[in-house]
Amino acid sequence: MCDTEQQWIAEAKAGDKDAFAKLVEKYQKPVYSVCYRMLGTPTAAEDAAQEAFIRAYQAIDRYDISRSFATWVLSIASNYSIDQLRKKKVTILSMDNEKHAWLAPPDTGPSPEKAALEKEKLGQIQSLLTSLNEVDRAAVILQYWHDYSYEEIAETLDLSSSAVKSRLFRARQLMAEKWQGMQLPSAPPVNSTAKRIAHETSTI
């Protein structure tokens, strides 16, 4: 953690909203990313990320400065998203479905072809994540996209390391089964991307 960040945290602890806004600016992407992968829609992700930062600001007095701020705030975002999924049972919608084009993520690429491919990939990913329960999903997201170790995931999700290992094993098994099902000819919405990825990885 750099000195500037520590200064922002100290100022935020003293009640300075602008200092915390700088922390929000710095960590908005990972927090939004976790919320998006957990909840599946940009709107829900925006709301959850905003709420996670509000909760973090309100609990900043309890933040232990020896811990990583990123880990702390991601743990708030993950747990909030898990609660949201449990309470509201948010429906994860497929991104590659034309009917739900309004749910598309922010424009990430210059060419429409690339954007369409990325949208398709997002749909694939969300489809795989949907097959998991809330806690398994959070564990997968933290491991794949945030490079968390088993211990860090255990600390974030309040589980034991062995529980995290078994949850990740089960999650990979479920996702592999789902992926195999998606590659079958009777699964047209995701077939083209699945085939493309199968082709890309055929040399692995």
Partner: protein, 180 residues
């Protein structure tokens, strides 16, 4: 080695040593189920690793500042509402209690008024009697004491008062000098 061991290796996601890797590769050549699982795991890893970066729309932190201010205002209004409700409830309770007391006292109102009038009348009678005693005493005293004594007493009292005032003045001057 059992078939399940290969599934574990594929799904655990941990690095295999060279011997394990060779063992797995040779097993995959003869086991279509494990090969299919292996391919699926590899393809999922590839999909996740090449997934697009997710970013919120621009102005996220500005929206956060607006949201936190709204949240704080909402909380302040809630606290104010609760405080006002408690004060209103307490006032209502107090007024109700006083009202009930007055209502119960109304039955004894004539008696209370009579007692108050009696008390005031007794005081007037007492003061009148005191006046009747003190007035002749003062008149007689003035007549008995000679004018010379009266002057002497007046001068003495003036002297004592003067000395007291001078001592007060001097003590204040002394305090000022000490503090300076």
């Amino acid at each position: 080695m059992k078939h399940q061991q290969y599934e574990t290796w594929i799904l655990m996601g941990t690095e295999l040593n060279q011997e394990q890797h060779r063992d797995l590769q040779s097993h995959l050549k003869g086991c279509s189920a494990c090969l299919s699982l292996y391919k699926a795991a590899q393809q999922i890893n590839h999909l996740f690793n090449t997934s697009p970066v997710l970013e919120p729309s621009p102005g996220f932190s500005t929206r956060w500042v607006t949201n936190i201010e709204k949240d704080e205002n909402r909380k302040n209004q809630l606290i104010l509402g609760i405080t006002l409700s408690v004060i209103s409830a307490a006032t209502l309770l107090l007024l109700s209690t006083v009202g009930l007391q007055i209502r119960s006292a109304l039955a004894y109102f004539p008696q209370i008024m009579l007692e108050m009038v009696t008390l005031v009348a007794n005081w007037i009678v007492f003061l009148n009697q005191l006046w009747d005693i003190v007035t002749p005493l003062v008149r007689v005293s003035i007549k008995l004491i000679s004018p010379a004594w009266l002057y002497t007493i007046a001068v003495s009292l003036s002297g004592i008062t003067g000395a007291w005032m001078i001592s007060l003045f001097r003590s204040r001057t002394l305090q000022k000098e000490l503090s300076a």
